[in-house]
Structure formats: C-alpha cells, structure tokens
C-alpha cells in the first residue's frame, strides 16, 4: 500500500516538473529584479540601479562595494539551487526507487526461472494421492493457482505444528494482500494418517488446508518427486508409537504447477510473507515469457 502511494506521488511530481522548474526560475528572476543583480555575472555595485544589464566585467571597480551585492547574489543563487537540489533529489529518488524495485523484481523472476529448470523439472512432477475428503488429488489440481506444499505427519512432536501455525499466519497475511494460495499438507506417515485423521488434525490449523494421503507407495512416490525423504522405523508393530524423520520445507508452486522456491525454517512470520509476495508479484505466465524472448529488449531477461 505504501509503495503504491509512493508511486502515485512520484508520478504526480514528475508531471509537475516543468512547472516547478519555471517557477524556480521566475522566483530567482524576481529576486534579481529587486536587487538588480545578476546571478551569473558577478558583482556590480548597488548604486548602478539603472545600469544596462550586460555591463562589461572590466568596468567593475576592483574591491569596490562588491561585498553587499555578492551577499545578495549568493542569496538568490542559494535559493535557486535549493529548488534545483530538491528537484534533482525528487527525480533522482523516484528513478532510483523504480530501478531498484524493477531490479529486485527481475532478480526474483530469474530465481524462479532458474528453479523452474529446463526439460525435466528438478522438483515436482506427477503424483496421485487422495485428499482428506476421499477425492483424488493429482498434480493437475495445482494448476491455475499458486500452491504451497508441506510434508509432515500428524504425530509430529513440535516442528510440524509450529510450521503449520506459521503457514496459517502467512496465509492470512497474504489473503489480506489479495494473494490466494492453495495450502497442501502431504503426510509422510500414511499408516497413521488416513483421510479422517488428517481432517481432524488439520481442522485445528487453517480452514484452507488440504490434507493428502494415499497408500505407502503413492506417498513415497509423491515425496520423491519433491525430493522429500522420510524414514519410518524398520520394525513396527501395529499400534506402536513412533516418529517419522522427514525434510521440512515449504514448496511454493506456480499456477503452472511448477516449482518456484523452497522455504525453510529460516523464514519467520514476516519474511515468509514478503518472500512469497515477491514471488507472486514477479510471476510472469508462460505465454508471456515465451513472447518476451522475441522482443528486442529480451537481453534484459537473460
């Protein structure tokens, strides 16, 4: 919001540039008329009120009463330069702001582009799981919206619930900024997390969360697609209590179902939102990316 106001005032100001400039000039002109002094031409005496403007320098008495007029002229110069300085600062600041912003946007876009990869995607790919309502959920369900994926298990002692709480805060914050993201929780512990358990577990976090599960092989395959590795103890008796080791990253996926970025635990409530927002804002749909490659300024994006 703040940045938008900044842009608006900056635009308004830039449209005023000629007027501000001319006013600055006319003010100094006014001063000049009053004192009958010249900005460029140095010291003439105050007595020569009706003297022609272009008085040759040689006529000025050296060491005459130039002190006072110098003070006057320096006063008017200072005034004009003050305006000019303000003008330069405004334009410079505005340009700097735009370029810095655009540079950052391109950086983020490149980061996403690099992660998208070429040929076979590095992270992500087809999977087939069941959501907590019993419906099939595949990579096709990621299309058309940004998604954020998290892998975990309901019997997780402390990290997963903390991360899910953080995710809930992110989602609410992003929603306030008008960014809708589809949050998905994929269990690494299908044995203990059938759909109804996931539903009960996730109900305590965010209403938008979708829980995914499936048989062991389907889950293993989905995890592998996202380079998530988990391990369950080798010898398990039914009903036994155990923990699952797994990697903890949030995977941000674009509306084409392609991987953008992995967000680790270093992102807190605020920085995570900022990072996701940056990615969402920098996102350029595929057809536009393709089109842009043919433009004359395509070198900017390489």
């Amino acid at each position: 919001m703040l940045s938008r106001i900044g842009v608006f005032t900056a635009l308004k100001r830039s449209s005023q540039i000629p007027r501000v400039g001319s006013r600055a000039l006319s003010v100094s002109q006014g001063l000049y008329n009053k004192t009958n002094d010249k900005i460029v031409q140095t010291p003439s005496t105050t007595q020569t009120d009706d003297a022609p403007r272009r008085k040759p320098l040689s006529r000025i008495a050296i060491g005459g009463t130039s002190n006072q007029s110098q003070r006057n002229s320096s006063g008017s110069i200072e005034f004009a330069t003050w305006k000019a300085a303000a003008l330069v600062l405004t334009i410079g600041g505005t340009l700097y702001y735009f370029f810095a912003k655009e540079k950052r946007r391109l950086e983020i876009e490149k980061e996403a582009e690099a992660n998208r990869g070429y040929g076979k995607p590095l992270v992500g790919g087809p999977f087939k799981l069941t959501d907590f309502n019993g419906n099939e959920f595949t990579e096709q369900n990621l299309l058309g919206k940004f998604s954020i994926l998290y892998f975990g298990f309901s019997h997780c002692p402390d990290i997963c619930p903390d991360e899910l709480d953080k995710l809930s805060l992110w989602l609410d914050e992003l929603k306030k900024k008008g960014i809708e993201i589809q949050p998905i929780f994929i269990t690494c512990d299908p044995a203990r997390d059938p759909p109804h358990v996931l539903k009960e577990y996730l109900a305590e976090f965010h209403p938008d969360l979708i829980g995914l599960t499936g048989d062991y092989n389907a889950v293993k395959h989905a995890c592998k697609q996202y380079r998530v590795y988990f391990s369950t103890p080798a010898t398990l008796k039914p009903g036994q209590d155990y923990l699952v080791d797994h990697s903890i990253f949030f995977y941000l996926m674009d509306p084409e179902g392609q991987f953008i970025d992995a967000l680790g635990r270093q992102y807190d409530e605020k920085t995570g939102v900022a990072k996701i927002q940056e990615h969402v804002n920098a996102y350029v749909p595929k057809d536009q990316r393709e089109k842009r490659k043919d433009k004359w300024y395509s070198f900017l994006f390489n």
Partner: protein
C-alpha cells in the same frame, strides 16, 4: 502402573494429537526441563543422572511422561541435548568473535 502408561491418551495411535494435548505436553516438558536445569542435568537419558532426577524431579518427570506420547519423550530428551550443544557452540563462536552469516537471502543460480 505399566498398564496405565500404555493407555494414556497421547499414545492412542488412531487419533491425531490435538492442539490442547500438545500444549499440555509442551508445558509438562518445560516444567521437567526447568527442574533439570536446576540440578544441572543436560542429558536425562544418561543413567548416571537417574538418581538425581528421581530425587529432585520425580513429580515433574512423572507429569512429563504422563502428558506426552512415548516417542515424544525420547525425542524431547534428545532434542534438549542437541539444543544445549548448539547453544554452547554458538556462545563459543561468539566469544571467539565468530560472525553468523545469513544465507536466507541468497539467490541460487
């Protein structure tokens, strides 16, 4: 007592632990760990500390074990050791004028 332990609600594998039960477990854990801090025990899994824990933190330990799932108990005790070592390492590095490098803003190429 053994039977009672087996049927504690947190060990029910057919239900996910809920926010309230997690909170209770974490509070009991913090209580137990505070007690361990008092008697300067870091690794509660070491058998040499058993007597000291029995003597000073019996009630806290009982509550911790009652409120948390069995797998969590071991996990939290191990995590305490890891966290302690990490903390010690960071302090040591800081005393040697080490600087933490923030890698979160790096752009991967």
């Amino acid at each position: 007592m053994g039977w009672f332990n087996k049927t504690k609600p947190m060990d029910d594998q057919s239900k996910p632990p809920l926010r309230s039960s997690r909170k209770q477990c974490w509070e009991s854990r913090d209580g137990f760990f505070q007690c361990l801090d008092k008697i300067s025990v870091v690794n509660a899994l070491e058998s040499k500390h058993e007597d000291a824990i029995q003597k000073s933190c019996k009630t806290e330990e009982g509550k911790f074990e009652e409120d948390c799932a069995t797998s969590w108990i071991k996990y939290f005790k191990e995590k305490r050791v890891v966290d302690y070592k990490r903390e010690k390492f960071m302090q040591e590095m800081e005393s040697k004028n080490g600087q933490q490098i923030d890698l979160s803003g790096m752009i991967r190429k």
